[in-house]
Symmetry: C2
Subunit: 546 residues, 2 copies
């Protein structure tokens, strides 16, 4: 039996494009002699469809796509993910399902039992968990077909009280197929590998695993679909961060013709680099835009975003706007110009002085006698947002946000100023990782000016300002933030690790007080296990460690 | 047996304040001779605590509060909601629980079975559903104690496959108690009344129902706790939108000394009026702020917000900033001044011309030869945001957002301009309801100038602009939006109701295309069954009816 794994890049709700792509892959799999082609979880509508699922019409469009896809399944069988209606009146109205299609017809439907409802996942919001289980019979073989999370309940602290494979294994299946929508984070690849391998070992069955690839606003799917033998050894892995389709031979007992391979994922920073480029590219392509604008300060964050955007969209599609203020140092403009030169992207220089002066004059009667403070600092940052948004409105450029995760965490940024943008490129990348990414981009030649990398970080909103005036050094700050944000450690536990007590309390309070700002920031490309945005839902008017 | 219902206003994560308030109510209930005092769902930490629940320390602080509360329960028993740890390794780590405390000690814990995970609710994100049920025994009586949603599974399309009362009734309880955190929407009161009354009729038991009161960022709890007899007739209702504590006598069979009362809720607009005032007040008080700023245009939306803020915070705490542009009509400033005069709040007039001109000059080389368009319109709206945010940064005023639901829906607003603010007061109020609220506020005397109410709506961002240039009339638009947003009807169904087909497609596409703007808007006070924000989760890069 020949089985094709089709790892595709879907677009949420774009039924025409998804269906066309799926049908093309069915044709490709047939050409390659496959008896069965396997697509990912919720492939017909893209993942996550969110509240689109609450529209009856949306689910009908899924049904319609499945009919078209089934019609294309002549001389080949197909497994594909889609929502289906729950026929029972009790419970949620939908299941998260996998169709089995054979001879042009739907012959069986498997429903997901374990519904991830944590971090960025909201599946129990829409779906009823399945409580009945049976294998798929195909060409005299039994397939234990599960959907993503269904295989994830085998760790030390299981989230669910049961595991679907414990039921399916009673029917003595020949192998496992799992269809998934498993988002990228820099440490997820290792977890996924281990969980899937552990399933093979536990049930002593080979496994074919199909993930999606591509970015959906903030959630990035990295592909990397996997094939394991019954000993939990990896036999093959599909490409990362791009579409792929490969065919495997199953001889009734094992997947044949493949040797055991080592699992050697790229270093974290290289994974993040690829993820961010895919994230930017898909945000633009799936939104129907091609051109980006950003404010280029001469600092490291905007330099990095500019370099990533140039790689994702082509330098000719990136407009860098240099907006020096009276507090900008001379070398900032030069550093920015050097970068633009290195990348070959477009630029404009627009000093903000006239607008900032106008605001200060207009406000002078009201602010009379009061000292310069954050109000005047923020006026400058907001003048810049007015300018780059004017570029956006006039030319159809999409504004890239350049705030990094360390800043987002402690609220070091100006709402409606440098926190503006359509998509946050670095909002899940700590400042220390920003440096690593910049150095990675410069691995062969200096693209990001060395001066942008080595100079002390500064918002340049008042004379001689440095980030370190109001924040601890980033190597300390980022470690502390990681303990609180990613690991959800208590202040007590963090202090016990040797961090200064006063600093811990101050930083955690800053994080919690900045919640109102983060609520209004753009969606952030998620590359870590705990990104700001949909995956971290905090009360705004809440009084906890603040 | 005397039972006190304590309907209190909690603050999420403010353990000190919540515990103090709860212990004071225990004292009050004792003074009134109660044997048992009943508090709401998750009372110790406030509802919804969201991802605070993922911090072990947060749950420990809940435990600590419960210990303090238990110590105060001498000569009185108490029922109170709190998260508790799930002792079983399988499943989620927490339960959403009700403690029964007697003689200063926790004697029983009841766990919630039905976990709302829809709209603004995310309970399955945190909690394991209970699967075991038993009544509380107290003074020789059996209490069927449930938590909020546990009583809600008796409608025609039940969301869950079981109902806890079907189990509890097997133990022949004497009456029901339900502790809740049931948020306000203008139609929710009727639903709640019917569901609770139906439970009484179905199980032939009296019911004491305790809700919370108070606002938590966007979610407003209206109180209105209820007492029913076994025939499902209402015997009493606690106050709406304020704290209340009342004591009832249960004689072993029935709640005595009370006649059947009619359920006569206030008209929708009056409910919304009270909800918005509570929403504004609690946002400020719970955040530790007292003063508001807003841009006052002379139009109806900002006039209404100004009036609501003056009522919620006191006119002396409201700063209205009039920011005319060259396109503002003369009467706009006069209408705004009349309002300020009527309310007695503070004001400043700052024309935006100088800043807007500065931006246009700065951008002239780049925009040369291109026609005036939305870029220049938005510069004006963003100049206003820079000014009001400067007030906020300089004086500690909190910016109120004045966008209405109709505008938010179709994206008729400027991101980082008039869409800025800390809290959206009218973001869940359609334009047609804005007029109704204005007329309600003017019911006794003209507070909002009649001219602001009767003139055609306009953003005044270009000469002679009217909303009706780019939008249908609001009475048509709002009805169409209601079908799509609140009722989730398909375009086909909406067209079948007689709406113009082209208009329906255009408006729905506008709604879906504006998702990226709504993602960055402030939290919106929720007064309808489907508000923008946490309760409506749409993909941004999604292609569905757009």
């Amino acid at each position: 039996m020949k089985i094709a794994l089709a790892q595709l890049n879907y677009h949420i709700g774009n039924f025409e494009s998804n269906t066309k792509k799926i049908i093309a892959a069915i044709g490709d799999a047939k050409l390659k002699g496959a008896d069965l082609v396997v697509f990912a979880e919720l492939a017909v509508c893209g993942y996550p469809p969110r509240d689109f699922l609450e529209f009856t019409e949306f689910v009908e469009l899924c049904d319609h796509s499945i009919e078209e896809i089934a019609a294309a399944c002549t001389d080949i069988a197909c497994i594909i993910g889609a929502p289906t209606k729950n026929p029972r009146i009790e419970g949620k109205d939908l299941f998260n399902s996998a169709y089995f299609i054979e001879g042009g017809k739907i012959t069986q439907v498997v429903n997901k039992a374990l519904l991830p409802t944590y971090d960025v996942f909201d599946e129990y919001r829409y779906f009823e968990p399945s409580v009945s289980f049976s294998c798929i019979e195909f060409q005299g073989r039994k397939i234990a077909l599960t959907i993503c999370e269904d295989l994830w309940n085998i760790n030390d602290n299981p989230l669910y009280i049961s595991a679907p494979m414990d039921e399916l294994v009673k029917e003595s299946p020949d192998f496992m197929i799992n269809i998934a929508a498993s988002p990228f984070s820099y440490n997820h690849d290792d977890n996924r590998y281990k969980i899937l391998s552990d399933n093979c070992k536990k049930y002593q069955l080979p496994l074919l695993y199909v993930n999606q690839v591509g970015s959906q606003t903030e959630i990035i799917f990295d592909g990397g679909s996997l094939v394991f033998n019954a000993q939990g050894e990896m036999l093959d892995q599909l490409n990362y961060f791009e579409e792929d389709l490969r065919v495997y031979e199953f001889d009734g007992t094992a997947i044949t013709g493949l040797e055991k391979k080592e699992h050697n994922p790229l270093p974290d920073i290289e994974q993040i680099h690829q993820a961010l480029i895919l994230g930017i590219r898909d945000y633009f392509h799936k939104s129907g835009f091609s051109k980006a604008v950003l404010g280029l300060s001469g600092g490291i964050d905007s330099a990095l975003v500019c370099a990533l955007a140039a790689e994702a969209l082509g330098p000719q599609n990136v407009m860098a706007v240099l907006m020096p203020s009276k507090y900008s140092t001379g070398h900032s403009v030069q550093d920015a110009l050097d970068l633009v030169q290195n990348l070959g992207c477009k630029h404009e220089i627009i000093a903000i002085k006239d607008a900032a002066d106008a605001f200060e004059s207009m406000l002078a009667p009201v602010f009379e006698g009061l000292p310069f403070n954050v109000a005047e600092e923020n006026i400058q940052a907001r003048c810049r947002a007015v300018i780059v948004m004017a570029f956006s409105n006039k030319f159809g450029y999409i504004l890239l946000n350049t705030s990094n995760k360390s800043e987002c965490a402690v609220g070091y940024g100006t709402l409606y100023g440098d926190m503006a943008g359509a998509i946050g490129v670095l909002g899940d990348v700590y400042k220390t990782q920003v440096y690593q990414l910049a150095n990675f981009i410069n691995r062969e030649r200096e693209i990001i000016p060395q001066n942008s990398i080595v100079k002390p970080p500064s918002a340049e909103l008042r004379p001689d300002q440095k980030d370190s005036d109001s924040l601890p050094e980033y190597d300390v700050l980022d470690k502390l933030l990681f303990q609180y944000i990613e690991l959800k450690k208590s202040s007590r536990d963090i202090i016990a690790q040797g961090f200064d007590e006063q600093l811990v309390r101050k930083v955690i309070a800053m994080v919690n007080k900045a919640e109102f700002k983060r609520y209004q920031t753009p969606p952030i490309l998620r590359v870590s296990p705990k990104a700001f945005g949909m995956g971290r839902r905090m009360p705004i008017v809440g009084k906890y460690l603040s």
